[in-house]
C-alpha cells in the first residue's frame, strides 16, 4: 500500500513541478522599456531549429543598435498559417506579423483579429512615400489593412530552354507558340544531345498547367496568377472572367493534345511535383519548362552541367500567339504585414516598423539579411551577402522584410561574397534578369498584376475554388489525353460551372473591383 502511494506521489510530482515551474529568463524591468514589436516570418535565419545562437544574437544586437526590441515568434514554415491563426485567436501573438496574401488579410478582417492602420500612419511621411506612393498597401472597404513587404526583383515565371539544344538544332529561342511546337518536336525527335538514342523530351511541366500556362496565355485563354484555373482578371478587358469560355481555349486545348499525343510533352506532367520536374530538367533529358526565371537562368545550369557539362540555358519572358500584348503576368506585391489587435501601443509599433525598415538604411538591410558583419556588410555602395566560412554557402537571412524595386534602398545592389569575378557575374546575371523583365514590360508582353487584381475578393469564389479547380483539372486532363474533344471538354466544364454557381462569384469579383476603384468593370464575358 505504502509502495503504491509512494510511486504515485513520485509520478504525479514530476509533472506537477513542470506545470508550476517558473519560466526561464524572465526579463527584469528596465528604466525605459524599448518599443517591442512582435513579429513572425516564414523563415528567420533558416528554419525554426536552425542557427539558434545566431537568432538570439541578432535580436540582442538589433535592440542594442536601434533601440527597438523585436519579439520574434518562431513558426515553422510548412504549418505557418495554421499556427499563426491559432496563436492570434488565443491571444498569444501580437505585433506586425507576416501573412501570405490578400486572402489571409480578408480572413483576419472577417475574424476581427487585426487593426486598420490609417489612423496610426496617415501623418507619417515615410508611409506616404514608400507605401501610398507605390501602391503598396492593401485596402478593403476604404481602410488600409496591410503593408506589402515587397518582392524580389525578377521573381517571375519565364520559359527556359536548353540553349545548347536550340543551337544544335539550328533554332532560335521560340517567341511564338508555333515555334514552341516546332522546338518541342525537334527536341524530342532529332536527338539534340547527340547520343544516338531517342531519349529526350521537349517540354515538361508540374501539377498540370502550373508550368505550361504560357501556352494558354498565348492563345488568349489566360489562366490565373498561379496558373491553377481559368478564372482571372484580364487587363485588356479590365474585368474578371473565365477564359474557358473564350474561343482561344479551344486552340489551346488542341495544342496541348498535339504536344501530348506525340510525346513532345512529358506525359507525367500531371503527376510531376515541382521537385520531379526540376529533377528531370537537371537530368539533362528534358528541354524546356515554364518556371521561376531565376531558377531556369541562374540556379539550374550549374546543376545540369554536373550531368551535361556543355549545357546552357536561355529564357523567354512571354510566348506570343493570338495574343500579342499583355500576355504573361508579374505578380507584383508579394506578402504582407498586418497589425494584430491587442498589440500594446499600436501607433508606436507600426510607425517604428515603417520608419526603421523603410527609412533607415542600416536597419533596412539588418531587416533583410541579418547581423551586419556576420550575414552581410557594406562595400562602398554595394551590399555584400556574406558566406558561412565553414560551408561556403550564403549565410541565412533574417528576412523580416523584402525589397521592392521602387523602394529607396533598391539603389544599393546586393552581391554575394566572393571574388570580384564572382560578384561581377552575379551582378551581370541580375542585370540580365532585370532586362528580360524590363523589356517585357516595355513591349507590353508582360504586365503588372497589382493589389486588387491578383486575388479575387469574393467569398463566393473562396467557397467554390477547390471544387472549381478540380473540374478545371479534369477538363485539362481529358482534353490533353484526347479522352474528350476540346469542344466537349468545355461543354462539360460549363455544365459543372452552372451547378457550382460560378457566374455569381465572378459578378461578385467584378462588383468588388468597381467598389474599390470607383470605376465600373467592363463585363464583356459571357455567362455559362
Amino acid at each position: 500500500m505504502r509502495k503504491i502511494l509512494a510511486l504515485l506521489a513520485v509520478l504525479l510530482l514530476l509533472p506537477g513541478l513542470a506545470v508550476t515551474a517558473k519560466g526561464t529568463g524572465e526579463k527584469t524591468a528596465t528604466a525605459k522599456e524599448p518599443i517591442e514589436i512582435g513579429m513572425s516570418e516564414f523563415q528567420f535565419m533558416g528554419d525554426v531549429s536552425d542557427w539558434p545562437d545566431l537568432k538570439a544574437e541578432y535580436l540582442k544586437e538589433f535592440e542594442k543598435k536601434f533601440g527597438v526590441r523585436i519579439k520574434m515568434n518562431l513558426i515553422p514554415r510548412n504549418n505557418y498559417m495554421e499556427k499563426l491563426y491559432l496563436m492570434i485567436s488565443t491571444g498569444e501573438l501580437t505585433g506586425m506579423i507576416r501573412v501570405f496574401g490578400a486572402q489571409d488579410v480578408l480572413k483576419c478582417i472577417d475574424d476581427g483579429t487585426i487593426l486598420p492602420l490609417d489612423e496610426y500612419v496617415k501623418d507619417n511621411p515615410v508611409y506616404q512615400k514608400e507605401f501610398v506612393g507605390y501602391d503598396n498597401t492593401m485596402t478593403s472597404d476604404g481602410r488600409t489593412w496591410g503593408l506589402f513587404a515587397g518582392y524580389a526583383r525578377s521573381g517571375i515565371f519565364a520559359r527556359m530552354w536548353r540553349k545548347d539544344w536550340l543551337d544544335k538544332l539550328g533554332l532560335k529561342a521560340p517567341e511564338t507558340v508555333e515555334e514552341l511546337y516546332t522546338a518541342a518536336k525537334l527536341m524530342t525527335e532529332n536527338d539534340p544531345d547527340g547520343n544516338g538514342k531517342k531519349d529526350t523530351v521537349g517540354l515538361t511541366s508540374a501539377s498540370g498547367t502550373w508550368c505550361i500556362g504560357d501556352v494558354f496565355h498565348a492563345y488568349d485563354a489566360r489562366l490565373n496568377d498561379t496558373q491553377s484555373n481559368s478564372i482571372t482578371w484580364d487587363p485588356v478587358e479590365n474585368a474578371w472572367g473565365d477564359s474557358m469560355l473564350k474561343p482561344g481555349m479551344v486552340d489551346a486545348l488542341k495544342m496541348m493534345n498535339a504536344l501530348y499525343k506525340n510525346g513532345y510533352l512529358d506525359n507525367e506532367f500531371f503527376t510531376n511535383k515541382g521537385s520531379n520536374m526540376r529533377d528531370k530538367i537537371i537530368s539533362g533529358k528534358y528541354g524546356s519548362t515554364y518556371y521561376w526565371m531565376h531558377w531556369g537562368l541562374r540556379d539550374a545550369p550549374p546543376m545540369i552541367q554536373k550531368n551535361v557539362p556543355t549545357a546552357t540555358t536561355t529564357a523567354v519572358a512571354a510566348l506570343k500567339g493570338t495574343r500579342t500584348t499583355l500576355i504573361n503576368h508579374i505578380v507584383s506585391n508579394g506578402v504582407l504585414h498586418v497589425l494584430v489587435k491587442g498589440t500594446k501601443n499600436p501607433k508606436e509599433v507600426v510607425n517604428s516598423f515603417i520608419n526603421l525598415f523603410y527609412d533607415n538604411k542600416d536597419a533596412h538591410f539588418w531587416g533583410r539579411f541579418g547581423i551586419e558583419g556576420k550575414n552581410w556588410k557594406w562595400d562602398g555602395n554595394k551590399v555584400v551577402q556574406m558566406k558561412d566560412p565553414k560551408t561556403g554557402n550564403l549565410m541565412p537571412t533574417s528576412g523580416l522584410i523584402d525589397t521592392h524595386p521602387k523602394f529607396g534602398f533598391a539603389k544599393y545592389p546586393v552581391v554575394p561574397e566572393g571574388s570580384a569575378d564572382d560578384q561581377a557575374k552575379a551582378i551581370a546575371m541580375q542585370n540580365l534578369m532585370d532586362k528580360i523583365m524590363d523589356d517585357g514590360l516595355a513591349d507590353q508582353s508582360l504586365f503588372n498584376v497589382t493589389n486588387l487584381y491578383d486575388n479575387p475578393r469574393s467569398p463566393k469564389y473562396n467557397a467554390i475554388v477547390a471544387d472549381l479547380e478540380r473540374i478545371f483539372n479534369e477538363v485539362i486532363v481529358k482534353a490533353t489525353t484526347g479522352e474528350l474533344s476540346p469542344e466537349n471538354a468545355i461543354k462539360y466544364y460549363r455544365d459543372n460551372m452552372r451547378k457550382l454557381g460560378t457566374a455569381a462569384a465572378i459578378e461578385e469579383m467584378n462588383a468588388a473591383l468597381g467598389l474599390a476603384t470607383g470605376r465600373k468593370a467592363d463585363t464583356k464575358w459571357k455567362n455559362y
Binding site: D47, S49, L86, K280, N307, T397, G399
Partner: protein, 296 residues
C-alpha cells in the same frame, strides 16, 4: 527427434524464399535512401541506382556538425526516454486496474476511455488548456503530458494480462500478498513481451513528435528532430505546393533547392535508434517462438 515431413520441408523452403524476397523488397528503398545520403554527385536523379556516383560522408558531417540538427536530435532522445518510461509506468498500472472486471466503476472507466479515442475538443480548446496550465514552451513536459497515456495501449496491455492464468494471482493472494505486489512481482514480469511492444510503439511515437512541437514550442533550441526533418523535407519535396505558388518572390526561394542528400542522411540517422533498440527488444518476443522452433 521427430523428422520433419517432406511437405513440411517444402513449406520451409518456400517460406524461406518468400520471406527472403519480401525482405529484399522492403530493404531496397532503405538502401536507396542510404545511397542518396552517401552521394554528393546525385543531381536530378531520376533513377533508383544503388551505387553512389560520388561517395562521400559530406552529408553526415554536415548533419553532425550542425547544431540546428544535433540539438533537435538530442531533444528527441531525451523526450523519448523520459516520455516512454512515464507512459509505460502509468499505462501498465491503469491496465491492471481495468483488468479487474468486477471493480465497481470498471465499465464507466472503460467507456470514458473509449470516447476519448474518437472525440476531441479541437485545436483551439486544447491550446487554451495548455496555455492555461502554463505549459507553453516548457520542454519536455509540454510534449509528454498531454499525450502520455494512450487508451489503445491500455487496452492492449489489459488484454494481455487476461492471458495470464488467474491461478497464479490466486495463490499469491492466498499467501497474503498485497495487490500491488502481485502486480509488480508476478503480472508485470510475465507481461514483458507486450510491455516491450508497447514501449517500442510509445517510443517511436515520442520520437516522431511533430505537430505538438510545432504548436506548443517557440524556442529554437527546443524543437524536435521530426520538426527539423519536415522542414528540410518541405524545402526539398515541396509538400506545400501551395506555399511555393503563393510566396512570390521570397528571397528564400532563391536558395538552393537541392537538399535531398542532407534529408536522406537525416532519415538514416533517424532510423538508427530503432535499429539499435529493436534487436534488444526482440529477445523479449522470442520466447514462445523459440520454444516452438526447437520442438519442431
Amino acid at each position: 527427434m521427430i523428422q520433419p515431413s517432406r511437405s513440411e520441408r517444402i513449406f520451409q523452403a518456400f517460406n524461406f524464399l518468400f520471406l527472403g524476397l519480401f525482405t529484399l523488397a522492403l530493404l531496397l528503398p532503405v538502401l536507396y535512401v542510404l545511397r542518396r545520403s552517401l552521394d554528393v554527385g546525385a543531381f536530378g536523379e531520376t533513377s533508383l541506382s544503388l551505387i553512389p556516383r560520388e561517395p562521400s560522408l559530406f552529408y553526415y558531417k554536415a548533419v553532425l556538425q550542425d547544431r540546428g540538427v544535433y540539438q533537435p536530435f538530442l531533444n528527441s532522445l531525451i523526450l523519448t526516454v523520459v516520455g516512454t518510461l512515464l507512459s509505460i509506468a502509468l499505462e501498465s498500472m491503469a491496465a491492471y486496474s481495468l483488468s479487474k472486471r468486477d471493480l465497481p466503476g470498471n465499465r464507466l472507466f472503460i467507456y470514458m476511455m473509449v470516447v476519448t479515442m474518437m472525440f476531441s475538443g479541437g485545436l483551439v480548446p486544447s491550446y487554451l488548456l495548455i496555455k492555461g496550465l502554463g505549459l507553453i514552451d516548457k520542454f519536455p513536459w509540454v510534449l509528454i503530458l498531454p499525450s502520455c497515456i494512450g487508451a489503445w495501449n491500455i487496452f492492449l496491455i489489459r488484454n494481455y494480462y487476461w492471458s495470464i492464468p488467474a491461478s497464479l494471482n490466486e495463490s499469491a493472494r492466498i499467501d497474503g500478498a498485497q495487490e500491488f505486489t502481485i502486480f509488480s512481482r508476478i503480472v508485470l514480469p510475465l507481461s514483458i513481451p507486450v510491455i516491450a511492444a508497447i514501449a517500442l510503439f510509445t517510443g517511436v511515437g515520442y520520437w516522431n513528435t511533430f505537430f505538438s512541437a510545432i504548436i506548443y514550442i517557440n524556442t529554437p533550441s527546443k524543437f524536435t528532430f521530426a520538426v527539423k526533418l519536415r522542414e528540410i523535407l518541405a524545402l526539398q519535396m515541396e509538400m506545400q505546393n501551395q506555399f511555393e505558388r503563393l510566396a512570390v518572390g521570397q528571397e528564400l526561394l532563391l536558395q538552393n533547392l537541392n537538399m535531398e542528400g542532407l534529408y536522406s542522411a537525416m532519415i538514416v540517422i533517424s532510423m538508427l535508434p530503432i535499429i539499435l533498440v529493436y534487436p534488444y527488444l526482440q529477445k523479449h518476443f522470442a520466447k514462445g517462438i523459440m520454444v516452438g522452433s526447437i520442438k519442431g
